[in-house]
Subunit: 336 residues, 4 copies
Amino acid sequence: MTTQPLRFGLIGTGRIGQVHAASIAADPDTTLAWVCDPFVDGARAVSERFGGTVTDDAGEVFASGDVDAVLIASPTATHVDLIAAAIDAGVPALCEKPIDLDIARVDALLPAVRSSGVPVALGFNRRFDPAFASVRARVAAGEIGELEHLSIVSRDPAAPPAAYIAVSGGIFRDMTIHDFDMARFFLPDIVEVSAVGTTVFDAGAREHGDFDTAVTTLRAASGAIASIVNSRHSAIGYDQRLEAFGPDGVLQVANAPTSLVSLSTATVVEGRPPYQNFFLERYAEAYAAELREFVRLVRGEPSTSPTFEDGRAALLLADAAQRSATEHVAVTVDLS
Amino acid sequence: MTTQPLRFGLIGTGRIGQVHAASIAADPDTTLAWVCDPFVDGARAVSERFGGTVTDDAGEVFASGDVDAVLIASPTATHVDLIAAAIDAGVPALCEKPIDLDIARVDALLPAVRSSGVPVALGFNRRFDPAFASVRARVAAGEIGELEHLSIVSRDPAAPPAAYIAVSGGIFRDMTIHDFDMARFFLPDIVEVSAVGTTVFDAGAREHGDFDTAVTTLRAASGAIASIVNSRHSAIGYDQRLEAFGPDGVLQVANAPTSLVSLSTATVVEGRPPYQNFFLERYAEAYAAELREFVRLVRGEPSTSPTFEDGRAALLLADAAQRSATEHVAVTVDLS
Amino acid sequence: MTTQPLRFGLIGTGRIGQVHAASIAADPDTTLAWVCDPFVDGARAVSERFGGTVTDDAGEVFASGDVDAVLIASPTATHVDLIAAAIDAGVPALCEKPIDLDIARVDALLPAVRSSGVPVALGFNRRFDPAFASVRARVAAGEIGELEHLSIVSRDPAAPPAAYIAVSGGIFRDMTIHDFDMARFFLPDIVEVSAVGTTVFDAGAREHGDFDTAVTTLRAASGAIASIVNSRHSAIGYDQRLEAFGPDGVLQVANAPTSLVSLSTATVVEGRPPYQNFFLERYAEAYAAELREFVRLVRGEPSTSPTFEDGRAALLLADAAQRSATEHVAVTVDLS
Amino acid sequence: MTTQPLRFGLIGTGRIGQVHAASIAADPDTTLAWVCDPFVDGARAVSERFGGTVTDDAGEVFASGDVDAVLIASPTATHVDLIAAAIDAGVPALCEKPIDLDIARVDALLPAVRSSGVPVALGFNRRFDPAFASVRARVAAGEIGELEHLSIVSRDPAAPPAAYIAVSGGIFRDMTIHDFDMARFFLPDIVEVSAVGTTVFDAGAREHGDFDTAVTTLRAASGAIASIVNSRHSAIGYDQRLEAFGPDGVLQVANAPTSLVSLSTATVVEGRPPYQNFFLERYAEAYAAELREFVRLVRGEPSTSPTFEDGRAALLLADAAQRSATEHVAVTVDLS
């Protein structure tokens, strides 16, 4: 018996939408049936490379009757309505993070998501990175004993434009959101958030009252602590490290090298070329694995795709971090 | 012209006192003139190895007229009185950290220290570690641009006995105190402290209301942030790492290997033997350099020995961290 | 103007033939037009995955008129005749190494190759590995000064079956041949070969009078020396390292890790999972780049594809090494 | 019962003699009783720092009756006569390498050494390096299975003056001699030597018909192979690496770092300061351990001090390498 490839409708053809289009086209289990973007030239360009019928109207995708799933990669403000439309149409959805910048809108959608039975997954791609996934599996297997401290370093190569900062929801909702989910990948039950933010280099962040550098400390119900260090820039390339500490040892994820070559001279030994520059390279495998896992979810197979609730939990943590950094208090959270 | 070696009186012959006795004996610029401990057998044992007249009475040392400096390595509770006695006797003192567990006692002594003109230095040995000192010098030289984030990982190999915990003043005053000083080595002007503590493995800490694991975030007046991760235990040996992040790069201090040998097999490649076990090995060079710097201070030469004020600042930060971790708020500090 | 993809005839569908089939299918500039193997089921299996008309007769491929190039991945003994046939048909050929086990047959073909003008390239894939290519470029750019010593470590994960050893032509012609070409990639003008072979673990090698371990030293006309260390097995995975030493420094190529994760415990720190297992993983990028370079050659564009003469030179070095190891003398070679 | 420190006569106060003087003075089991050098100012300078009666006449040392052992660190040409004198006087001797540049003189002395019962040890200090000693012990313990290949890289930071080259006996007898002994530390029973030498950068070597770069391959009776790579210069500092390869894995000795600090920037990541510059730093611990082991030998305790025979074997290998490199043949040796 042959399984037909899942027919995807891609909504949103910006940078991350193009990544997903490539993944859908490359995976033998998926095909690109529809490509939708109000900026129809973007949709057309994607369609030319990867196939799919072009439209500027998401409603047409849902009404077409020939999509098995949608991948929502449009601007954040559209996510809630598109998920709602997907549920109405009975079409499973994989939605990029964050669900929304406003937890009230997320909460309003929650009952429908829960009761509908339509699969909704969140695009926390890093869970599918082989290194992070391996560390989590090894922690779960007891290699270092009970997790006591998780350290996440997450720095982007360069700050986004001020215009992006203006609508981003702030560093915690826009950037740390990935790290909150990563912390919950290891320690789902976070109970307290303490965050310190500062603005030391980025004029755009300063202009819009945002931080360019932040340190967040999360406490889990178990007593374990997670630390997250963020910066909007990093001279050495995309800085994505993780360290899990337990009574029996430490598991570490190093930055991804771009070469096996090192140079030693009279002044510096064992120097290597800079790390991978950004997420497209660093998480290429993760995006493909994320899609495969979502296919399993759609097919009713056992799946570990991050859920709508995971997306909501990450946003709750971001809100708490924003409040903590602003009011200089630790903030209790209830993710249940 | 030959300079006579400085004649030291060593007060306190426990573990750290013995380290200092060995340093004093090994340094051609210093000799051990007096060895003092109420537990006179300890003093006698040190004297037999490294020389010096034995006494159980510190007053005798100060009255002798034949010491050029004292090294105070006795229990914390005795430090303030011994520094006061040193000032009265006009004898320069190098005192182990912390000055005291009670900031009020430290503040009470402060005017006398300031007005006396007698050199008083604090034993923040890690400032003299070649690796940390090198990173600080390179940051100061601008190698990574303006410091934006400082990360300190500091874990002891194993938790002390419950009886020690009981009188230690808590993890922040007893253990993190070193890391507070290290943070101030890079960022002297700390203005806010946020700390999270937890007790996940150590029965002694639990019994005495202490934490065995702590994460502290410090904010400097410049906006830079320092993160400190502590644990009372570490399977991999003494875990002492530091990372300085700036716009132009990252300077890192790795853990100290015990061997140049690595083993690669079918299951693990490039595995190396565990790190140095504890501070006697890890900071052997630092203790010797600390002593040399203090000798310069005593001789009126330019010296970077940490001051009484440095000791007070570290204690203020520890107090703030204790309050932050207990009350779940960020605590403003004024170190001026 | 659009360039049509090159239509390839693949001759030989064993392990390496399948690698090339995948590369040809994946590269937008190439398509698989014919798949040929006397073991026609193998050809059929490849055709089903990657396309192409199936035949068991190479003559049919050349006669078809619809191939732009052939990729010769058949057994070594067939290479010379197939290259000759390609030249006769005016079809450019990319041939796997070695050209033949008998230098006389290679020399007999040489004039035809030279006079025909038909592009013939040799499959020395390692030249296209990003790490080795980068080191060569950096040496050429003068980063370490004039090359004085080149060190190559090349060990396969496990010895081949005795039946393979029997017809392999011996370790130098079968395995070191790649390393001879790599040495010539840096030092084309080798003038002397000294080799030491030994048989310490492999019953198959012993049975067929072959070595399982060999060390070869090459002297270049410039005076520079290249060292090659080979073994037919390696517990740690495919061991492929290179080091270029010059007056100003050292460029090193490390083994390829399979993960960014390391584990530190009380007994071993910074241990990582084993290296990539074998050439399919280690040289995946190299095979693709090798194909792209051959496409340039076929199209008459500037190309660095290894030539028939490179293939002949590597075989001359292998013959010299075999003689050196057997007769215990250094052997002079003339590669001009 | 207290053991009296061994009273040493030091003969030769050049660079290596001064190293030994410091070791003798620092070790509580040894004292410097006599310091001898025909260049009596050198002897005097050593005596002033480390004690001992000064003389320019080695005979006086042996006749004094108050030395328990001699350390021979004089020019190579004097070693044989001084060992003979030590044997005659019944005084144990630790002699620097090589014994002599002329194997005939060594052989002539051999019967006396063997029959005398007077302990004679050779200064192959590297056997006592903790890293090399650890690898040997771990190989012996079977961690990688039966040793199949040993790789030694040994490069000095800078070529010696031409005048030194002139009387050095050539690179194999002067420099590789250490590596021959290291090879025999792992594989005592070497049966064949193949060496390739070249002169690519050093005018002094060229002037005196010596090589500045050499690669030597040794075959052991077991079939195992040792490779030695030498250069008279190394931009990255003292290059002293070793790798032991067996069926179950690889043990490696890395170069000795001078700092725990690494720097990552936009152009180079994880760059570290250069390695230790030369043998005084790199082998400081080894020299002390070598002395302690010789003390055990003198006291009749079990000792692993390298023997006169070890010194002779290394010279035989050096002679064979010189012949191999000159005559372009593999040279059979009999070390029994």
